[in-house]
Amino acid sequence: MPFGRISKAAGIVLAVNVLTPVARAQPVNPPVQDVVPQLSIEELANVAITSVSRRPEPLAQAPAAVFVITAEDIRRAGAINIPEALRLAPNLEVARMNSYAYAISARGFNSPESSNKLLVLVDGRSVYSLLASTVFWENVDVPLADVARIEVISGPGGTLYGANAVNGVINIVTKSAGETQGALLDATAGTADMKIMARYGFAPWEGASLRLYGQASHANNTSPVSVLDISRNAWARNQGGFRLDQKLGADNLTLQGDIFANSTPAMDIKHTRGYNLTGRWSHALESGSSLEMQVYSDESAQIIPGTIREQLDTLDLQVQHNTALWWNDTFIWGGEYRHSKESVYSFLAAGFANPVTHLDIENLFAQDSFFLFDKLKVTTGIKIENSSFSNVDFMPDLRFSWAVADNHMLWASVSRAVRTPSKLDRELESPGVLLPSPRFHSEKLTAYEAGYRGQPTAALSLSVSLYYNLYDDLRTTFYQPVTIYPLQLRNGITGDNYGAEAWAKYALTDWWRLSLGANWLQRTEHLKPGRRDLTFGQSLGQDPPYQAQIRSEMNVFEGWEFDAALRSIAHVKARDATTGNTQVLVGAYTEMDLRVGWHATQTTEISLEGFNLLHARHLEANDPSNYAPQYVPRAFMLNLRQSL
């Protein structure tokens, strides 16, 4: 089927990086005192939470489905990279494709091609590629020892985070330079991965902290599903970077950057390289309000020899003001400007008539939250975003949170979010086969959500969220009535999806903690009248109807940790993109990870980990029209963390 080739071309029109803002918020008298006594000692250190309202807010009050992965969670899971750490979030689908690539989504639409509705930020810098509407996880390699926390919001975040925060937002927040002082060596040797990271933090002058890091890693080849697949996808990464935090009275300044070069060393299948530099300034004003500015530059390139060469350069500027409009409300408003230069040179039949596109995005947003009654809090706002690709999009949001009792909160929301078109959606063409689609416009979501979060007993915390998502203008591959060709990408599918997510943490004793999580998703989609889709809904993704996980963390003896995790993912049933037959694309699987950690001294930690122990290999994603499917192997690792 010729479309297979086009789709493949689309799939490999890859890029790194771009889009959407976030300035990190400063606190203004959040009314959290009443919640604080119930927090655990770990949670106390995290009382400020920036994601949902873009200003610190205790998790218990955030009127959204937020799961926070802490630095401790990541360490105890033994995760080797960011995507593996994201398996901790019960509100995400994580499917590993090969040694380096992952498809990650929330609330559906997960597959190598379709996971385009989740926005990902690293310290306020977007790593969502506007070029191909996806995240190239192989280049998002934040050193895990420097991660303070990862906030995973399932559900729309358009009002504060802008376009493409449709099904969720992942906010990766690194520790300040002051929190990473001294020397650290983090080294892992394993059957599938080798990784070494070294960091040094010091105070170069009064009021400043600086950290420098370097890391190198190698992920082995995975084994192919097809006997005809002779590719060697082992992935080697080299990366370095720094972060400088400076305090000047009421001002906080941060300058941070990374540089990387990654490749497939066994075969020259692809290589990527890039750098980014972010400056952030926050100023505490009198009366408790604050002003923030952030500017970043991000450049990255990807070369797939003989296939594609692309370069993406982005400059982004954001301003945010946190204040109050009247007594006891919190008002945030701000704006963003972004310029991207996207260059894509394709050596395939499918390509771009204009290899270079300049994309401009401007947006303005405002949000206010206030207490309507004593215990009923209202948060409402809107973002208006203009892009040179999609004209003006409105993303309004209305949320209620009701503190039913001291430890119990109910919330509900209605909001709208959009995925803006990418260069690929609008400009990809192939003579005689695929027409460009200059009128392709944003995919839209109206989401209704409700949830409960609370702490029924001192040892148990619980979160349940329900959603009903109405999608419109999802992408189809339109074909001609008789001749089939030429094809054209068009907006043409509506969907109504609903589902639930739940998680709980239960401290059985002071040395044994259990975490449970599950999600469930029910999907229906329809072609709009007069529309057609040659790929039988390939853009809708491949989602398991449910998945569940349980984790156990035990500190049995002083200095020793015993951890176990079991996850179960239901089978993925979808229509094959070329034949249209409904079939099981990815079988159901259950896998187990085990870890033993030993704090040999105050500064030395050694751990032994086993991943995917139940099977020699298993499949997590399967979309042959986009990439060569590969198995995920069983793996063992030995890790050493030595601080000086």
């Binding site: 400063q26 006594p37 009382v47 400020a48 929190e179």
Partner: protein, 178 residues
């Protein structure tokens, strides 16, 4: 002179508006921390008058917590022991406490109290902004309340601090370092 006037003017403004609430969030968090440290600390038996004597948290020189500390302590127990709270106007009697919070209202008095209980089984907790550091010292960092631990000072008083608490600290000064 001019700079000083501006600072005063700003201070006046801050008290007049919402800044007060912000301060009490900080102390609500600190009040929540104090009793939660206790299960992670082992005192020598001699630190208590009886096996079921309560663990006493003392607060030296004024109450910055506005009742939050009693609320936080009242809900917690450490093994068989309850947690009680006492306010001390002066450092005398500090040695009878198991935990003593040294506020920043009077830095000289805080330093005096640190000297007075040095080598005794008392966990000194110094407030952020103080120059002197106790066994545990609160630190404000990037809008979060964090704490540092001086393991050497704890060891001097015959106390041990569990690795769990050490792992939650921002920085740990290990045993055997001056």
């Amino acid at each position: 002179m001019r700079a000083r006037l501006t600072t005063l003017a700003l201070l006046g403004l801050m008290t007049a508006t919402g800044a007060r609430a912000e301060v009490s969030v900080e102390y609500a968090v600190k009040a929540a921390y104090l009793p939660k440290f206790i299960p992670f600390i082992t005192w020598p038996d001699a630190a208590f008058t009886a096996p079921d004597a309560p663990v006493t948290i003392c607060v030296l020189g004024g109450d910055p917590f506005g009742g939050k500390l009693e609320q936080a302590a009242g809900e917690l127990r450490s093994g068989d022991r309850t947690i009680s709270v006492r306010y001390l106007p002066a450092p005398d009697g500090a040695a009878s406490c198991q935990v003593i919070f040294l506020g920043k209202t009077d830095a000289t008095m805080a330093e005096g109290a640190l000297d007075a209980v040095k080598g005794k089984p008392v966990v000194t907790v110094t407030d952020s902004g103080l120059k002197a550091h106790g066994v545990i010292s609160f630190v404000i960092e990037a809008n979060h309340v964090r704490f540092d631990i001086d393991q050497a000072a704890a060891a001097q008083g015959g106390m041990t601090i569990s690795s769990k608490l050490l792992s939650l600290a921002r920085a740990v000064k290990p045993r055997g370092q001056p």
